[in-house]
Amino acid sequence: MATLSLDKLVKRFGELEVIHGVDLSIDSGEFVVFVGPSGCGKSTLLRMIAGLESVTDGEIVIDGDVVNAIPASQRGLAMVFQTYALYPHMTVWQNLAFGLENINMPKPEIAERVHKAATLLQIGELLERKPKQLSGGQRQRVAIGRAIVRQPKIFLFDEPLSNLDAELRVQMRVEIAALHKRLGNTMIYVTHDQVEAMTMADKIVVLRHGYIEQIGPPLALFNNPANRFVAGFIGSPRMNMVEGSVAAIAEDGVTVDLPQIGRITATVTADGLGVGAPITLGIRPQHIHVGAEAINTIQASVRMVEHLGADTYFYCDLPGDHAVTVHMAGQSRVTAGDTIPIALPAPDCHVFRTDAGEVALGRLG
């Protein structure tokens, strides 16, 4: 187990700066997920930590030692690649043992480690097969096994489930999380899938354009997104967003005016905004109630209904060409074309500034 910290880390490819002074601290044993859209720099950041990309500026510190100049193989890390990167001409056994042979480890010890990893990952019967004789899930296990046998201080995963089908992805997600619990190692996991991030992480690092947008536990990011980008990126379906302006400011919250829809009160602080200031109101589909309530109730025209059995999703139109997605637990008889009252609970409403950064207003209580 090991700690890792990034201190003002910068990466430039020629004139193009892709990582802009990232600061991050990862505790021993933590499962940290880097998440963000394509091109946000998450894989570059991971590869810099791995030692596969050079550092332009700043420091990478592992267990108190700056490792910028230390070769990848000597950083005590192991990486699982998106494409598995198994040696296609070697058997599973040879794939697992190759890294250990490189450091001239005695054969009995190699055999012990390989068998141990194979048992842990349930690939014992595949040891004599070559990668092309394995399924996607089995290859992924071998790739993880290759990392395990090296007994690294930190595991690095670069979108390891992207090449698997949906069902296998869910299964492997559970297995990797279980593996983390069993091994207790520090793990850094890169994904663009926020569901993976939410389900696996102790701590999520949301990246955009080479900057960290927010760091925190999954639920903290879900419940208190720092800005509009994080609010939109974390959570599925995405948070509903409607543009409006500040209508009134009171001690118990801010009332916003949504053109042609009405007034909605949110339990947030004004944070220096005045009446009339433009804002964006956000609320998650899961937080909207179907049915009228004392305040914050509006009429929505149902465009489409998705029945998932345990859940129902309503895709609704609001006046003023706005759209909103509503989640309801259970089943419903509402059909497309119906108009339904929906309530937006004030404590669940988020308000974002519209100036640079689109920062969320502070929450009351």
């Binding site: 030692g51 193989s73 192991a78 990486m79 598995y84 040696y87 296609p88 001409h89 190759f98 290759r146």
Partner: protein
């Protein structure tokens, strides 16, 4: 049949479009009549043969028919060209070619020059293919790295492949002859000139060298494509595994490149066995018979000697065909293996 209407874009030759379209339509309409008739007569399946026929005729006339004629000549004797005037000898020509007291000593063979050519060819094949594939691999490995002017260097190494074998031989003859560029340079440096193409060992060396220079670019290109097909992730995994560069080459690059290497080896072998034109122009097979290879022996026996022995030449070419057939089978097998991963 209808011709597609002209695309809506301005063109300086736009005024030509209408008459061209009309002409094209007329041609198509004319061709359509016999095509429809042929399809009606032969049916949809058999009409494919009509399209294949021109190529089949050319192949038949210039490839399959000569092979058959070759068998005819290989089993007959005499110096007459017309088959009807040639006595049937059965396998005698093959026996004459293969008649040796000691196969390791061409002087003890009835057709000593044939065996000299065979041994020369064997020596040439081993040296030329061995060195060429090694140099091609080293060049491909260098060109696969991020070096300055990579595109330029790739063109430089590939350029000789584009030349005709005769041009290659003439260029090198100009360099290597007694009053050639190389000797001029040596004299300029104060050394004595060398009869590069008149000394048996030097002539053989230059024949191998010129062939390597001429053909290496082609095989470099194939090996480069093979190297680029190796996923970069595998190298990164090896880097994470702490693999030293030599071990990366022996344990990762070479095994993954092996299918391509085998294809390259077999192709180079086939070509080396067939070597003729550039060597014939460069040395004429000399000095003596130092650079005479099997194809030149066949050519000289059949066409260039005073007594034209078509039967012996045909028999020798059939023996060569057997070797080439085996090599081609190996090449097909290697290609299939490569395609199957």
């Amino acid at each position: 049949m209808a011709v597609m209407s002209s695309p809506e874009r301005p063109s300086p030759l736009r005024f030509l479009w209408k008459p061209l379209e009309a002409l094209m339509q007329a041609v198509l309409n004319t061709v359509e009549i016999p095509m429809r008739w042929a399809q009606r007569m032969l049916g949809q399946q058999k009409i494919a043969w009509v399209f294949l026929l021109p190529n089949l005729l050319i192949f038949g006339l210039f490839t399959y028919l000569p092979i058959g004629v070759n068998f005819l000549y290989a089993t007959t004797g005499g110096t007459n060209l017309w088959p009807g005037d040639r006595p049937f000898l059965g396998m005698d020509n093959f026996e004459v070619l293969l008649d040796c007291e000691n196969y390791l000593d061409p002087a003890t063979c009835r057709r000593d020059l044939f065996w000299v050519a065979v041994y020369n060819s064997a020596q040439f094949v081993v040296l030329q293919v061995g060195f060429m594939v090694t140099f091609a691999l080293i060049t491909a490995l260098i060109l696969n790295r991020k070096i300055i002017g990579r595109g330029f260097w790739r063109s430089v190494f590939f350029y000789p492949v584009l030349l005709s074998p005769v041009v290659v031989a003439l260029i090198w003859k100009w360099i290597l002859q007694r009053e050639g560029v190389l000797n001029a340079a040596l004299v300029g440096l104060g050394a004595d000139p060398v009869n590069w193409l008149l000394s048996p060992d030097w002539a053989f060396f230059w024949v191998v060298f010129v062939n390597i220079w001429f053909q290496m670019g082609f095989y470099t290109l194939i090996l480069l494509a093979g190297l680029q097909a190796i996923p970069p992730d595998v190298y990164e995994a090896a880097e994470m595994d702490g693999t030293k560069p030599v071990r990366v080459f022996t344990r990762i690059t070479l095994p993954l490149l092996m299918p391509t290497m085998i294809v390259v080896l077999v192709l180079a072998l086939i070509r080396a066995v067939q070597a003729f034109d550039e060597i014939f122009v460069l040395t004429g097979g000399g000095p003596g018979s130092a650079t005479m290879f099997i194809v030149q022996y066949i050519y000289e026996t059949g066409f260039a000697s005073q007594i034209q022995q078509f039967g012996i030449a045909a028999a020798a070419s059939l023996l060569l065909a057997v070797v080439l057939f085996i090599l081609t089978m190996l090449q097909l097998r290697a290609t299939r293996r490569q395609m199957n991963g």
